[in-house]
Amino acid sequence: MDEKKSFLKHLEAWVDGEEVILDADKYISTRTKKEKRSWRHHFTIQYVKENKKLYGILSIGISVLFIAIMLSVVNSLPEYGNAHNPANNEVMERYLESGIEETGAINFVAGMILDYRAFDTFGESNVLFLAVMCVVLLLKKDKNNYSEQEEQEIQEDDYFDTNEKHPILQIGAKLITPLVILYGIYVILNGHLSPGGGFSGGTIIGAGLILYASAYGQKKMQSFFTFRTFTKICVSGLLTYCACKSYSFFTGANHVGYEIPKGIAGNILSSGFILPLNICVGLIVACTMYGFYALFTKGDI
């Protein structure tokens, strides 16, 4: 075979199936031998991560650059507190001017989040429920999440909870907890009349439960608040919310006309579904808050 044929001739012959390119391997190896030696090979993410000082300087630089860019954006934002800003448009006017007529709630924010945007609030409640279920999956004590040392620690904690007396904390908790829970109930029930609502009232009730649990120990809490009651309250709250909103979506979309009476704005029993929805959301939030506390401290509700 003539080795001095040109590359094109070889290729032609190869395409015709007359011969194979003999020095193909050699050719490929010479081609890949050309290493691209550039700064990029040294400046990889791995290199930056290993070099702590460079990493710190770079991250500070990126953050400062980010702040500078955002400050320049803030500089050209419309003026703070001006009534003619583009954010204060006809949507806000609609909520404020026909809000009482359409929802019956004096608190415009409650009317907005539980009537106009009730579907969004349903999603929020689901997000909270999903979060507490994930925490249950990760932290609840069962046969897969168990070690003898932890069990011993928990038993010691229980021993101290039941046998050691903290008079100041316990008497204080006994006096304050009912008031805190009562205040939470007030905030929930007046959600459509005053500042507050399901989320804030639920958090207040959750705080009361956490205070009681931290003063008297988990054992005493479990006499009236077990995992069973927790799941029952959460799931029934979500289902009631879903049923209420399904009813109002169905009747509203089909113009059936069986609307819940709005009542006189300003009364406690008014504004249609907002009060029951507030109660549902409050129960879910209270259970979630206490559930987070119990799962993070003892790994059990």
Partner: protein
């Protein structure tokens, strides 16, 4: 347009966001990282609340029977902040639960140490 002097709530929120981001990048302790994430969330709430305020108006709850849009501040950012708070609480709880499991498994909160230990475990 030069409103940096009047928009100082927004400016502060942006700076807080940057501080939280820096915290997220620089801290090695996982719990401190999530504190940085929460600072970023707080900055966003401050920004939204500042966007909704209008000078000389009252909170969006019916006062003195006035039904007029030029009497109340914007109620929409309040609803958005509520959504933000709920999502932030959920994300924080979930990530802290993951951190607790990591601590139980590796006995450390330092991210580099955890990465090294997990690599050693995989190598075995």
């Amino acid at each position: 347009m030069n409103h940096l002097g009047t928009n100082f709530y927004e400016a502060v929120s942006v700076i807080l966001f940057g501080i939280g981001f820096m915290n997220l990048l620089l801290q090695n302790n996982l719990i401190k990282k999530f504190i940085g994430l929460n600072i970023m969330d707080t900055a966003v709430y401050l920004f939204l609340a500042a966007q909704g305020y209008i000078f000389g108006r009252v909170a969006p709850i019916l006062t003195d029977g006035v039904i007029d849009a030029s009497y109340y501040v914007n109620p929409i950012p309040a609803g958005l902040v509520l959504t933000g708070i709920v999502v932030s609480v959920s994300v924080t709880a979930f990530s802290l639960a993951l951190v607790q499991r990591l601590y139980k498994h590796y006995g450390s909160l330092n991210m580099d140490e955890i990465m090294q230990l997990s690599r050693e475990e995989e190598g075995e």
